[in-house]
Symmetry: C2
């Protein structure tokens, strides 16, 4: 052997010996804590698996926040499974398991979805699928009433999750609904007053010790009890900096969320088993972070005068003992090894001075920011508010601790303002976030500062991308109608975007024709044209809906000849609710119809079921104006009529999809080009 | 003389002696207090006279609350003087003098009006009349931007008056605006954040003693500092009773206000001098009540332990000394001889037990309820909030004192709830009143109770009449477009209510024709029809506005023959803002045009100024649906087009006035009959 080889051999021996020692030492150390760790990870993993299995197998629509879906539904997107009873059940239990599993996620998004589902279930008069129907509840059978009730449900969800009834009303107004009426304000307010009274009564009842561990919280979740009476210009400057950074962080959060969701959607496409494995791996990661990172913190001696509160052992609270000797606490464990609510409470707790070290806050902020990002999108009901508040509060407290020498404000106030700035940066809500935070902390004197921070962070973030809920609606491909017409719509007229061959019915139509058109197309509405026997010239009679046609055909009031039946005659065959709008996915199917060949040759009078006052626009109407009409009146079909006489009475039908950006830019690609140029210029 | 006569004579003698004694005693007694009384009454009278003179001679539109006018403006009623600069000035100074004069009126209505006036002035780029114009501000020249800014102004008014920024936003949303967009929420929120920061900074600055007597108030106006943590079922019941009575009292208040305003309008019609005399007599009445009624109260010994606060002599505050010996206070004087804000603060003050006697509260409630009624409608800017809060608080405290044996709640809490119930009963606002009260008192734990009381009182009062601001809009005869179509509109079609002969222009029209039509009618919009030389058949080209026509005629781009000029050619003569909408009352007048007889025979091309995408409805469209379209899109003109071809291309124009109840019921009186029958049935 050469000397080199001998040297290598000796090195190897010694390094192997070193490795053995290292590994044994580490294993020995971990073994001491292994039982706790395994129990912790195991519990979390089990809960996470159950939640993911519920979501993956029973109701995939229950995964995620639910707020984008509710928002889209209230915009008029009738998606089948969004508000189904199974979604409701999975949302409730999945959310409970998910929160218990220690994920960095909140319960407010799921609560909003839950509220909306309950409202939908009640407005349909129960679920036909599960044979739970209440006859007396079936009066609400039109879109508007159902939408109103679901708005109330969404508002009640926020009110219950944050115990913020006024904030709930404002959330429904600012974020959820598309159409808002004063009567709705009044109704939402009523719902939320009921929520407030019920919550309050139950909490008072439970304070009497009558419900065990239940109901330990107060109506105000985070009592800051700080007395901010004055602030200097330096404070204001510090707060503005906080707002600007919060805006950047929020916009970046939205960007990352959209990128991660893109990746996740590829995993989710592979099937339910992949979803569960994915959720389990995120659960493992979260558990490891929560249990592992606190080891990095040094033990801090308890501040004097807090002997009764520090350290806390074996229960949630501030000043966690963790691995420290008596009289000391681990500040990272106070944040990581707590429920999310308690961690926020700890961050918001005032008059505790420099309880948290700067390194602790940095570590916790990074961990929570990243965990929040990777957690959203797994197959578990998960809200975004709590992760954002958590990250924002730690970031705010961090800034407050750093700026301590300059600013006199308590770090707790910075924590609150940090939460506000990150919320403003991601959600882009203003008044509702402001009121929710004030209701959470019961500190009205903070109002000007919170408003300022929200204004700044939203303005900053709006330069980069849109709010996180709108982003998700876009990613899910839901046809959401925007409040404002896009600029390129001004250069188009209604006629330009009308698509497809137009299918029309005559006022008295052959049954076979109707069946054939219904079978070959998926349209939901058709124009009805009156022709010479029944009018002087071909003229537009109105709009007939697919669902009404199916019900009418089922009634089989057919005639041999082309004659008017008259509506009194027709309605003899139908009950008062037969034409009412069925719940999503509950309507009669075309396949259920059995029509013989003889009947196919007969005629049916469509006049009784025709809406004779449809909204129309002239074909030369500016598309932007047509879009305004469509959206403001909450239409589903808008007729385009010719400008000059002598043409067929209808040029086409505009539906929601015709106003979508993708459709229009597909027809006129040059607007896309032009828009990009404009964006570069501005 | 008979014995009877002698008896009469003796009686007379003695009773006269008695009277002389009585009167001399009274005069002697009054003489002691006369100087104070005269000074008090004199000051008030002087201030009241100045305020009334300002209103009566300079800007009659400044009298009253101003909220109904702002509400009507935001609904689309362009009334000339509502937002004029003179109105602004009189509103500010009249309100200051009016409040100083000791009237039972508030400053919040005038503050809202002031905010709206300031916004209007800024959006017009200054006042042309007073030669104050800013060129850079003149970009906002359309209805919508101006309306948005004025909404912000109204919100800022509430925010400044109550120091309630969130309440201000909600007020603008719930009561003021007709059209609400999310972008507007965001803008109003910004305005109110600025208001909050400015107020806060000034208050903090003034706390340093730098502004003398200014700025003694805090951001929270009425600090209740009560700690209501639990309430029993008995408390809830008491609160519900309060709500019901408050609803009745509120509805009765509205009824009486409308009756009294009817009477007052007869006085006001007689001229400015009558207005001033009227105001002076109300001022005398108020002064007599404030100074006279406290004599009826007994002196109460100060409660033990409040030696530093009781009694207060010579300044505003609780526990007024008035005529009492040292160590005693007069509880009626604490309410009457204070500013309205201090009286409310005294009623809201907690932990003062039975500071106010039941008889005191009854007297004060009756006096304030009646004075509030007779004061509103005099020629002084006067808000309704403070009188209603004052009456409500005394009524609530009264109920609380009476129910003391049953309920454990502090009478101060009852005062707050009483104010809420009366506000709910008169104004019929819910969320905004709730938030304003919470921001006023900084007591979020009261939220469920306040919500409950508001719900009950509004529901009760809604059975009797409409809200006080809507009532005033009705009485002033402003054409306010309601949110909901009336039921009888369902039985009518658009064609039915089109009124008057239709005046149309051709695409290229003779100048003389235009002048003649503009001179003989007052219409603001005309249809433009294209005829065969320029199109195949007569067809509707669009809508042209009177104001645009006048500008176009002033440009004198006339042609000898009937030819198209082309828009580039026409716009060479005009600046970019010439066609922008001028401020109310600022547009060019028809009389300013000077057109020679030769020019009258020439032609002008109307196409460049024609709006080619007007909204239209078919003549058979249900009137209810047309009304929905008109209101939701905020239109001023809506074309009615024929259903079948072969007729003239326009049947008529619908304007705001065609949807008014009076107009429709004038055309179809039988609906009125039917409506009455329906009301009797329900």
């Amino acid at each position: 052997k050469t000397r080199v080889q001998i040297f290598k051999y000796v090195c190897m021996k010694w390094s192997l010996a070193l490795l053995v020692g290292l590994i044994t030492g580490l294993v020995g150390f971990f073994f001491n804590n292994f039982c706790t760790f395994v129990a912790y990870v195991g519990c979390n993993l089990l809960l996470a698996t159950v939640a993911a299995a519920l979501c993956a197998y029973i109701a995939p629509a229950a995964a995620g926040s639910g707020i984008p879906e509710v928002k889209a539904y209230l915009n008029g997107v009738d998606s089948h499974s969004i508000l189904a009873p199974s979604t409701l059940l999975v949302k409730i239990f999945g959310s409970i398991f998910g929160v218990s599993a220690g994920f960095v996620l909140g319960k407010e998004g799921p609560m909003v979805h839950t509220g909306a589902c309950v409202a939908s279930l009640l407005s349909q008069g129960g679920s036909r699928k599960y044979h739970l129907t209440w006859r007396s509840l079936q009066y609400i059978k039109n879109d508007r009433d159902r939408r109103d009730l679901i708005t109330c449900g969404a508002a009640a969800g926020v009110a219950a999750a944050f115990r913020a009834p006024v904030g709930g009303v404002l959330f429904a107004l600012e974020e959820a609904t598309t159409w808002w009426r004063n009567a709705l304000l009044w109704r939402t307010f009523f719902t939320n007053a009921v929520v407030a009274v019920v919550l309050r009564s139950l909490i008072v009842y439970c304070r009497g010790g009558k419900c065990g561990l239940f109901g330990k919280g107060g109506l105000i979740m985070f009592d800051m009890s700080s007395t901010v009476s004055t602030y200097s210009t330096a404070d204001l400057l510090a707060v503005m900096i906080l707002g600007v950074i919060g805006g950047f962080l929020g916009a970046f959060y939205n960007y990352l969320v959209s990128k991660i969701l893109c990746q996740y959607s590829k995993i989710n496409e592979k099937g339910a088993a992949f979803k569960i494995i994915h959720t389990m791996s995120i659960s493992l990661l979260t558990s490891c972070c929560s249990y592992g990172i606190p080891w990095l913190a040094r033990c801090t001696p308890c501040p004097p005068g807090l002997a009764d509160r520090c350290p806390t052992i074996g229960r949630s609270g501030n000043f966690k003992n963790f691995q420290c000797p008596p009289g000391h606490y681990n500040d990272l464990a106070s944040l990581f090894l707590n429920t999310n609510e308690d961690a926020i409470r700890n961050l918001f707790s005032g008059n505790t001075g420099n309880e948290f070290d700067i390194s602790t806050l940095i570590l916790f902020f990074i961990a929570v920011y990243c965990l929040g990002l990777v957690t959203y999108g797994i197959a578990v009901p998960s809200g975004l508010f709590i992760p954002v508040i958590l990250a924002g509060a730690s970031f705010g407290r961090l800034v407050g601790t750093i700026l301590g020498p300059i600013s006199d404000l308590d770090p707790a106030i910075f924590a609150l303002l940090g939460a506000a700035s990150l919320l403003g940066g991601t959600m882009r809500m203003t008044v509702s976030v402001c009121v929710i935070l004030l209701e959470l902390t019961d500190d009205l004197l903070m109002l000007p500062l919170v408003m300022l921070v929200l204004l700044i962070s939203k303005s900053v973030a709006d330069n980069f991308n849109i709010g996180v809920y709108d982003l998700m609606i876009q990613m899910k491909g839901l046809p959401y109608l925007e409040a404002h017409a896009e600029p390129y719509m001004r250069h188009l007229v209604a006629r330009d975007v009308v698509s497809g061959p137009l299918l029309t019915f005559f006022g008295v139509e052959k049954v076979g024709n109707i069946m054939q058109i219904l079978k070959t197309t998926g349209h939901h509405g058709f124009p009805v044209i009156n022709e010479p026997p029944f009018s002087e010239a071909p003229e537009l009679c109105g709009l007939v809906l697919r669902s009404h046609l199916i019900v009418l055909l089922k009634g089989k009031r057919f005639t041999k000849d082309k004659v008017l039946t008259g509506s009194t005659e027709v309605f003899k065959s139908f009950g008062s609710f037969d034409f009412a709008k069925a719940g999503p996915g509950k309507g009669m199917k075309l396949e259920e119809l059995e029509i013989s060949a003889d009947e196919m040759e007969m005629y049916v009078d469509l006049h009784p079921i025709t809406n004779k006052s449809p909204y129309t626009v002239v074909e030369t109407m500016s598309l932007a104006k047509a879009a305004l009409l469509f959206r403001e009146l909450g239409l589903r079909h808008l007729f385009v009529v010719p400008k000059t006489p002598g043409k067929p009475p209808v040029v086409g039908i505009l539906t929601r999809h015709d106003f979508m950006r993708e459709h229009i830019l597909g027809l006129f690609p040059h607007f896309n080009q032009r828009k990009k140029t404009n964006e570069e210029q501005t």
